[in-house]
């Protein structure tokens, strides 16, 4: 009896062991892939930090760690790249761009999600198709447009905030992101709002947007990163430093002879900090936004 019970127990263990082993192996494989992925993401960042603390010879010689950390690199980078001026420019450009993007993307996304009008599907498909265009292809047409608008507008566009911000206030990606979120809001809320006498704009502002904070924060973060890191377009539409962004400051460390890599990396860390701080505060909304708008693969 005891023997048969033990045999039975042993049989059960033999039956469950392979499954448990498979699960453990599977988990180990997943962790391995995640560790490799995390390392691939974090190693370049750590290397940037390391190089930012090296002297020039260490930085250009491909070393992994500085012999003695050169903390003054950060002070030197800030001073040489004139970050004080460019930092404020970037703050202004980013605030205007992100603010504008919130307004225009929300309005357009609401129309595509909640309203019926002729050609809606066609227009939305057309809008999405612009996502396929490489950014560089749009530079010349956009430059021609802003040059022309600058000629007919009372406010100069080139060398001024309109050329740096307005072209990015209605991005196809932002409209798509918000529309996907707005589509999930129950129709009953709109019916109730109508009974309360609400129109579309009031419904958007008082009901839809507050319910869509995750998507809005995701748009803010993407818009912030895009505006903060922009370089090619700002150089194209500015000729003086008056409105140039912080990323332009990094160019000072790069010339035909070579790069002052240590200062360039210190500058890169400085320019990266605001994005890291913003992500820290919006991380939960950002993840919710990505997870609930169909953007997650």
């Amino acid at each position: 009896m005891a023997n048969s019970a033990l045999a039975g127990q042993g049989g059960t263990m033999q039956e469950t062991h392979p499954a448990a082993r498979r699960a453990a192996l599977s988990r180990a494989a997943i962790y391995l892939v995640l560790i490799v992925g995390a390392a691939a993401a974090i190693v370049p960042f750590l290397y940037t930090v390391s190089v930012s603390l090296m002297n020039l010879t260490e930085a250009t010689g491909g070393r992994a760690l500085p012999a003695t950390p050169q903390w003054t690199n950060y002070v030197e980078a800030w001073r040489d790249a004139q970050f004080s001026q460019y930092f404020m420019n970037s703050v202004k450009i980013t605030l205007i761009s992100v603010g504008g993007a919130l307004v225009f993307c929300a309005l357009a996304a609401y129309a595509f999600a909640q309203m019926e009008f002729p050609g809606k599907s066609f227009l939305f498909t057309l809008l999405l198709s612009t996502l396929m265009l490489p950014e560089a292809i749009t530079w010349v047409p956009n430059f021609i447009t802003v040059s022309w608008l600058g000629r007919i507008s009372p406010v100069p566009w080139i060398n001024n905030w309109p050329a740096l911000t307005i072209p990015f206030m209605a991005s196809a990606f932002g409209i798509f992101l918000l529309r996907q979120f707005f589509l999930q809001i129950p129709q009953e809320l709109w019916d109730s709002a109508q009974i309360d006498g609400s129109g579309h704009l009031r419904y958007l502002i008082t009901v839809v947007l507050p319910l869509s904070s995750a998507a809005v924060m995701t748009l803010v973060l993407f818009g912030f990163v895009g505006a903060w890191n922009a370089l090619a377009w700002p150089i194209l539409v500015t000729t003086t430093a008056d409105w140039r962004p912080i990323s332009y400051g990094l160019l000072v460390f790069l010339d035909e002879a070579g790069a002052l890599l240590h200062l360039q990396m210190a500058g890169a860390i400085i320019t990266m900090l605001p994005i890291v701080v913003l992500y820290f505060f919006t991380q939960r909304h950002f993840i919710d936004g990505i997870a609930t708008t169909g953007l997650k693969g």
């Binding site: 911000t165 000729t239 790069l254 010339d255």
Partner: protein, 471 residues
């Protein structure tokens, strides 16, 4: 999103729009002063009065404001600003130059193309390579320098013309555009061989190599001394290196009438054969983890090859690493690429300045600045600020102190008269990529003759395709 957060967002948006409504920065003072200058200074006679005869007769450059889009940054930009200020304060024509950094060469190219597409004139003066000039001229963006250079009133004297290094001046002449001179050299850099004199002497050699055979022997000796795969020559595998070796071995990568490519000439084949042999024998190696200068400074290479503009970086690394290793700094220098020709043939390169087609007064004012900027005295000032090479032989007389302080610069300076140049054809940017790919394939074992034949064909196809635009 709760109500508080919504209102915070709304306030942020309003604040950003209020910020945006702030007026645009005022125009630079210099620009405003320049606008006022013509009225105050307009005269019918004087050192800058319009010419009464010649092709530029009646054109008045006085009081013009011209903008220069350039790529100089950092301390070089600061020192350029001092030189420009000197021009603005002292030129007799009351011309005001506004020198503006516009990023790198690619950024400037994008700006010129965008301006042209929108029907606007780019800056009066722009910087770019010779193949850029060909691209721009498809839309007739540039002015021909010859009309200024040869003008009896505003041009260069015969003596001044002869003082410019001929090979530098030839680079801006485009046979495919009726031999117009579309670019003018403000400065140049040179492909040089860096060598460690102290180490060579320890290995039993008296000085740097002058022939390919000597070079190979010395590199192999240094590699043997290290015995770990380093020590010899760090390979440089781009199109400029390929052209440099071809020139040094008596060949060219351009055909006789400068309208097409010849990458399969005997000199290129011989050069590739030698470099492949050196790689196979361990006398040369690739260093891809960083820049070659720290390797050179740490005696992991007796030779490296690169632009003379890297001289300050080498100087810094030689001193830093010697200090780190607690030894005296090695004596080092730069020399010509080892050659089979009687004299060295050096690959000399660099961007040109170009005058964009616009109002004749602006074009002339832009030329007068270039003429001033390339005068020996001002070139000497620019050389000391930038570490570039001057474009006029007469500049050397003003550089004795600088050469004394920078002996390696002096070694390279002595080679300026032996210049050759890379193609200025419209397709050269794409051909450079193809040449680098072919160079790498050869070093990885591809058949040299077949690879260079294919490169030549590809390069000429690219040229033909782009020139189809001109027709």
């Amino acid at each position: 999103m709760n109500r508080n957060r919504f209102w915070m967002l709304a306030v942020l948006l309003v604040a950003s729009l209020v910020l945006a409504a702030c007026p645009a920065p005022a125009a630079p003072a210099a620009e405003m002063e320049a606008d006022e200058a013509p009225a105050a200074e307009a005269m019918d006679a004087g050192p800058c009065a319009p010419a009464t005869d010649g092709p530029l007769a009646g054109i008045d450059p006085r009081g013009q404001t011209i903008v220069w889009w350039h790529q100089h940054r950092g301390s070089r930009e600061e020192k350029l600003a001092v030189i420009v200020e000197d021009f603005n304060s002292n030129n007799e024509c009351g011309i005001v130059l506004d020198a503006q950094n516009q990023g790198g060469y690619n950024d400037i190219r994008d700006k010129v193309n965008a301006s042209t597409a929108s029907g606007e004139q780019p800056a009066s003066l722009i910087v770019g390579y010779q193949n850029d000039q060909a691209f721009y001229q498809l839309n007739e963006v540039l002015a021909d320098f010859d009309k200024f250079i040869d003008d009896p009133t505003w041009g260069l004297s015969a003596e001044a013309k002869a003082d410019y290094f001929a090979s530098f001046m030839e680079q801006g002449v485009h046979p495919v555009f009726d031999s117009q001179r579309l670019g003018f050299p403000p400065n140049r850099s040179m492909e040089v061989l860096y060598y460690n004199q102290t180490w060579l002497e320890e290995l039993g050699f008296s000085g740097p190599p002058s022939t390919p055979e000597e070079f190979e022997e010395m590199a192999c000796a240094a590699a043997d001394a290290n015995g770990d795969g380093t020590g010899g020559y760090i390979l440089r595998d781009d199109a400029s290196a390929m052209a440099s070796w071809t020139f040094a071995l008596g060949g060219d990568v351009l055909n006789d009438d400068n309208t097409g490519y010849v990458y399969n000439g005997q000199a290129t084949i011989d050069a590739m054969t030698m470099l492949k042999r050196m790689l196979d024998n361990g006398c040369a190696y690739f260093f891809t983890e960083g820049y070659p200068n720290p390797e050179f400074a740490a005696r992991r290479a007796a030779f490296t090859q690169g632009s003379s503009s890297g001289l300050p970086f080498y100087a810094n690394d030689m001193a830093t690493i010697a200090e780190e290793q607690g030894r005296d700094m090695d004596v080092w220098g730069v020399t010509a690429i080892p050659h089979t020709t009687a004299d060295p043939v050096q690959n000399i390169y660099g961007a040109d300045v170009m005058i964009t087609a616009g109002p004749p007064e602006q074009e002339l004012a832009a030329w007068l600045f270039i003429k001033w900027f390339t005068s020996p005295e001002n070139q000497a000032q620019w050389v000391e600020a930038s570490n570039y090479f001057p474009t006029r032989a007469g500049t050397e007389a003003h550089l004795s102190g600088y050469v004394e302080e920078n002996p390696q610069y002096g070694e390279a300076l002595a080679l300026l008269g032996f210049g050759a140049y890379e193609p200025q054809l419209i397709s050269y940017q794409a051909v450079r990529d193809a040449a680098q790919t072919a160079f790498n394939e050869i070093l990885q074992g591809a058949d040299i003759q077949a690879t260079l034949d294919a490169l030549t064909e590809t390069a000429n196809d690219l040229q033909e395709e782009l020139m189809g635009e001109v027709q």
